[in-house]
């Protein structure tokens, strides 16, 4: 090989080496940008799951009367009548009614509301009544979860809380009359397809139903309380 060619060959070696180095650097930067995103995603989901579980625990302690100051803040999807709120500005949530329910937790009020639920007669489980008397369990749940999930609502997430009754090995959804416990009234159940970012948490919810015999005989009914959150943008895309 002539000397001129030798010089060219060594220059070629240098440029090849530089190309290899650049490729390695590109690989390092690509792996660096993705590093930690899975761990962060797992931690985020663990936090949200913990938040949902904690919201279930909280309603067992919160006095229903303490929620009487909650309002729908003119946001139609919280109000008793979404259409009234949008058309005439009559935005009422009705939480002030809870001021008379002192000494009763939100969970106890929900249980009282659901105690008269009879799946066989297609009755409405959460309808704010127990027999003919008033038992605003659904209202208390709407007011409580509106406050509990406020950070998620503000961040563009939808939430829903629903209940299922366990019958044998299957679970049937308990219907909610009127406005449901959600900030997205398009959705009727947490079972709906809402995209891959949906997070669902279940908890057992036992309701005792007693008859009028003397002494009254009580029977425990097993329900499942479910809460789910998902990015609101995925509601219409997937439903």
């Amino acid at each position: 090989m002539s000397n001129a060619r030798h010089a060219q060959a060594s220059l070629f070696d240098g440029i090849t080496f530089l190309t290899l180095v650049m490729t390695s650097i590109a690989i390092i930067f690509v792996s660096l940008s993705g590093y930690g995103s899975m761990q962060n995603s797992v931690i985020n989901r663990a936090h949200v799951t913990n938040y949902l579980q904690n919201s279930f625990k909280t309603i067992y302690y919160v006095d229903a009367a303490a929620l009487s100051s909650v309002t729908c803040n003119d946001e139609p999807y919280y109000c008793n009548s979404e259409s009234d709120c949008r058309s005439s500005g009559n935005c009422v949530m009705g939480c002030e009614e809870l001021s008379t329910w002192t000494g009763l937790s939100v969970a106890e009020l929900i249980k009282r509301d659901m105690r008269d639920y009879d799946q066989a007669s297609n009755g409405t489980g959460l309808d704010d009544t127990f027999g003919l008397s008033r038992a605003p369990g659904k209202l208390a749940a709407r007011c409580a979860f509106k406050e509990v999930f406020q950070p998620f609502s503000t961040a563009g997430y939808s939430y829903m809380v629903d209940f299922k009754k366990i019958v044998g090995s299957s679970a049937a959804q308990v219907p909610q009359a009127g406005m449901r416990i959600t900030n997205n009234q398009q959705v009727t159940s947490c079972d709906q397809e809402m995209g891959k970012e949906k997070l669902v948490v279940n908890a057992p919810f036992k309701v005792f139903k007693c008859n009028k015999a003397s002494p009254p005989q009580c029977e425990g009914q097993d329900f499942i309380m479910t809460a789910c959150v998902w990015p609101t943008r995925e509601t219409t895309a997937s439903s």
Partner: protein, 160 residues
């Protein structure tokens, strides 16, 4: 025949030394940068994990009141923080506290470098922090007496 372009055995390789040196310097600089970034990311992840560990303890019951938290604080939270090598503060906000104030509320448990440190945004400005907020049932003072209402609890963790 004249040896055109010949500088010498070393001189011939001089042109290739520049890309070689550039490549080596770039590669070493990238390795140093990547190492720092990996460490920073690991550190942030560990801080968040430590915060989450403590959050599980704080919201274990779904109910927190100021006086009844000392045992949990001393027996569970402080050992957990020491194990993870972080400092922390748990802030409790009752129904009467303005939720828009990030560091409002009562500090019910903490482990800090300085004694009686005032945990606020100024104190934490230069620290790498992780904050978790949860709703919690807590005692609220109302005109009609003490009532269990809806408050919130913040678990703030940071490194030295």
């Amino acid at each position: 025949m004249a040896r055109r372009g010949f500088i010498g055995p070393i001189g011939d390789d001089i042109p290739s030394i520049f890309p070689l040196m550039a490549g080596i310097i770039l590669f070493i600089a990238t390795l140093i940068y990547a190492n720092d970034e990996f460490n920073a990311k690991n550190s942030a992840i560990n801080l968040r994990k430590a915060g989450l560990d403590m959050a599980y303890i704080v919201v274990e019951k779904g109910y927190v009141n100021q006086g009844g938290f000392d045992e949990t604080c001393e027996d569970l939270l402080k050992p957990s923080a020491k194990k993870n090598n972080v400092f922390f503060a748990v802030m409790l906000r009752d129904c009467t506290t303005d939720p828009s104030e990030s560091f409002a509320g009562t500090e019910i448990c903490s482990l800090t470098q300085e004694e009686n440190a005032n945990i606020n945004s100024e104190y934490l400005t230069k620290k790498q922090t992780s904050i978790y907020n949860y709703p919690i049932a807590t005692d609220c003072e109302t005109p009609s007496g003490t009532r269990t209402g809806l408050g919130s609890v913040s678990i703030i963790t940071w490194y030295r």
